[in-house]
């Protein structure tokens, strides 16, 4: 019986495990090993082991630090913003509202459109003299093509990104809010708690796990933004204008696929993994401690 269950279990997971070994674990280990080499796939005769040299180079490369700071800035702005917005909208839509489905779908539609497409049409809104740039010009900002301005390009990227992502996290929050037992709110009302108190004392703690999930997902995804930047850069080098939107991902992509400096690119990819991994781990530990 036991044996039969074990055999069945392995047969069930075998295809998934094989795919994982071949297309994930092996490439991941390979990437780590490449990062210790001076490596170009096309010219194997010049490949050689360089130890930690690629990593040492990273930490002396100002372009790497620019990219790194842009990545962290993206995450620091975008993650709290999209989490707060999506939470607020979810709370409103969880209340007694007419046409819920309509509002929910309108928020979600951007998420199903490709990031490439979304960025392209936002570029038209934020062209010099376009509807959005003109609007912000009234608020005192310069009327320029945002995506082509070293000053505004990163802000443009953040706006496009948050516009697209809010709906997704909203749906996750709605799922969690529906699980909070209504009796809790009734009891709090009887005790005289106002709406704000009910929100902060009941809703927030009850959906804590979902909030952690949204923060972790949000962070992992925000570190990996790529398509939007590719759309903005068009035929210029990734991260245009002149590196204003370079991130860790565009940096490593360029090293590996444009400059064929694959060992160096892989070292940057490993650093990206280490950052995501340690931030996720820290979040996990903090989450556990507060329980």
């Amino acid at each position: 019986m036991r044996r039969q269950e074990a055999v069945a279990g392995w047969i069930f997971v075998l295809p998934a495990v094989l795919f994982w070994l071949i297309w994930f674990l092996y490439p991941a280990l390979k990437a780590v090993s490449i990062s210790f080499f001076q490596y170009n796939y096309a010219t194997p005769e010049t490949n050689m082991f360089v130890g930690l040299a690629n990593y040492a180079r990273l930490f002396q490369d100002p372009k790497f630090f620019t990219a790194l700071s842009h990545s962290f800035l993206m995450v620091a702005v975008v993650v709290p913003l999209q989490t707060l917005l999506s939470f607020a909208v979810a709370v409103l839509l969880n209340g007694p509202i007419r046409f819920k489905g309509f509002y929910r779908s309108s928020c979600y539609i951007p998420y199903v459109i490709s990031a490439m497409a979304v960025t392209i049409f936002f570029m038209y809104f934020f062209l010099k003299g376009g509807p959005a740039s003109s609007f912000f010009a009234m608020l005192g900002l310069e009327n320029v093509s945002w995506f082509a301005s070293t000053k505004y390009a990163l802000a443009f990227l953040m706006i496009v990104y948050v516009w697209q992502q809010v709906g997704f996290y909203m749906v996750i929050f709605i799922g969690a809010l529906q699980e909070v037992p209504l009796e809790l709110y009734e009891a709090a009302k009887v005790d005289g708690a106002n709406a704000w108190q009910r929100l902060t004392r009941i809703t927030v703690p009850m959906i804590k796990n979902t909030t952690y999930l949204v923060l972790t997902f949000g962070m992992i995804n925000a570190f990996q933004i790529f398509d939007q930047i590719a759309a903005m850069s068009k035929q210029s080098p990734l991260g245009s204008p002149s590196g204003a939107t370079s991130t860790l991902v565009t940096f490593l992509y360029q090293q590996s696929f444009s400059y064929m400096d694959m060992g160096y690119g892989s070292a940057a990819a490993v650093v990206l993994f280490l950052i995501i991994f340690s931030l996720s781990a820290v979040r996990e530990v903090l989450g556990r401690r507060s329980d």
Binding site: A6, G9, F12, L25, G101, V112, G167, I174, D227, L272
Partner: protein, 271 residues
Amino acid sequence: MAKKRIGKVFTYLFLICLALIFLVPVFYVFYNSLLPKRYIGTFVPPDVWSFDNYKELFSEFPIMRWYGNTALSTVAVVAGNIFFTPLAGYALARLRFPGRKAIFLCLMLSMMIPGQLVLLPQYIMMAKAGMVDTLWAITLPYLSQSMFIFMSRQFFYGIPEELEEAARIDGLGRFGTYFRIVLPISGVLLATIAIFNFTGTWNSYLVPSTFISSADKYVLVVGLQTVNNQHFQQENLTLAGVVLLSFPVIGFFMFTQKFFVQGIATAGLKG
């Protein structure tokens, strides 16, 4: 009471603004894709609207070819994930076998590994296997994705075990139980995987733009980037391209939107 009413008004005002922020751009894109270049951004009567921009795109680019490539790889990837990932997720949730914990741990870990880390080695593997610049490159590695195994596992944890036990007592084996009893009641899970996987694959850019180089093997997103690069000055043409890429996913979303919310709520994304 008056205070409550004011609150209500503000809530609706906020929601309407929000809906406008999300919907107006979408309508703007569609509307302007129907206009000749000189009318872009202006309101003109319907007799000037036409599909000329679309006709021009179809004559200049192999759009049908791009549709075909996108549809083929998307359908293959979704089919793979719908078959393989619930199977693995079920075993991880229900069956006891040596290595189960280790597999689950690896799963969690791989969700934290950015796709960009494995991109280059995958490219090298593809090149060695002669798969670069073929649809295999954007299909084969993505047939079983960790994210969906995790979702499946969470889903199967959440459903009661009695049905399966009854089926086992009636003499059904593990496979019979899974295919005849468990799968038929897992519609929500399968729909959720299909929805996420469909939009994700249809819209993905990084992988196809890296692995595919000849224009006749492009998928739509990469094709749109080409249109954008060549015709950014002609807003009407580029926006028509945006519509061509987006309307199948938006249509798909309209059909399945009931599942979107239900699916996310049930498929273990609650944390």
